[in-house]
Amino acid sequence: MTKIIKEDISIPILKVNEEIAQELREFFNKRKIFVINIISSPGAGKTTFLEKLLSFFEKNKVFILVGDIETERDAKRIREKGGNSYQIVTGGTCHLEAIMIKKSISLIPENTEYLFIENVGNLVCPASYDLGEHLRIIMLSTPEGDDKLPKYPKAFLTGDVILINKIDLLPYLNFDIKKVEEEAKKIKENIKIFKISALKGDNIKEVAEFIKNKRKEYFKT
């Protein structure tokens, strides 16, 4: 005889991702690898930023994972600058998931202290996926316009740091940087903001110092 019953459960739809992210964070903590997840729209300048940032780190202590929908171009660019990097081709998926990171961790060299994850260019979907990171950086660039925050609140809400890139273009654009800073503080009071130019190298050193200090704080080394 068949019976029909209703069962109340409460399972997050991202349960598997959350479990793997937790597992990853434990792995990174054990290895003292500080993980930074970088999220932005396409073309905001993540790869140029990473190229510049690398010059402030000891190269053999940094590993970079780059998520891209189908090309290997960005990882190649970073390798040409002497960085250790590996591209995760997502096969059409618009974000990285914890499982994709898990499949790549065997590539991370023994003495790595920093793992940068360059997420797929997209401000919506990546915000929902914990990758086991310790620090989440949201990057926006001045040509995208100064109305990004109210449009993509989730990304900014889940972020720890906002990088406003391409400040060298400010004189040519109608971009109200003060408004963006004020809005960011209203969305998240304690969010850290850096105004940078990845191309010219402005304030990249400050970001590097900030990340190094965060690692020190986190691992108390």
Binding site: I4, I5, P12
Partner: protein, 115 residues
């Protein structure tokens, strides 16, 4: 657009639940769909309807409850509903606040047919 991967996750969880509960069929699944989940309910529904056809859940009915966000003010601690960003506490007029509900998608209930 990650609604397809989310709908795939749902199907995975349904498979797991079906096995665990030794169910014959899952007739219905009910979701609490947070307005701030970052996904679109109508796209999700569309994705699920397409994906389920290839699975044992062809007949599974999907019900989506939209969950309004609840925000806890970091200053006065009161809870309020926010409809737009940034969150403004209506009690003390402080900006900011922590989302305590409505930023995730949960599977809330299943209607199953047992042997």
């Amino acid at each position: 657009m990650h609604e397809y991967s989310l709908a795939n996750n749902l199907i995975e969880i349904l498979r797991e639940q079906k096995k665990e509960k030794k169910a014959k069929k899952i007739l219905k699944v009910e979701l609490d769909f947070g307005k701030l989940s970052g996904a679109e309910p109508f796209l999700f529904e569309e994705a699920f309807e397409i994906l389920k056809k290839e699975t044992e859940f062809k007949e599974t009915e999907l019900k989506i409850n939209i969950i309004e966000p609840e925000i806890k003010c970091l200053k006065c601690g009161k809870i309020f509903n926010a409809l737009s960003f940034p969150f403004l506490c209506p009690f003390c007029e402080n900006f900011g606040g922590e989302i305590i509900k409505g930023d995730k998608i949960f599977i809330k209930s299943l209607v199953i047919e047992n042997f």
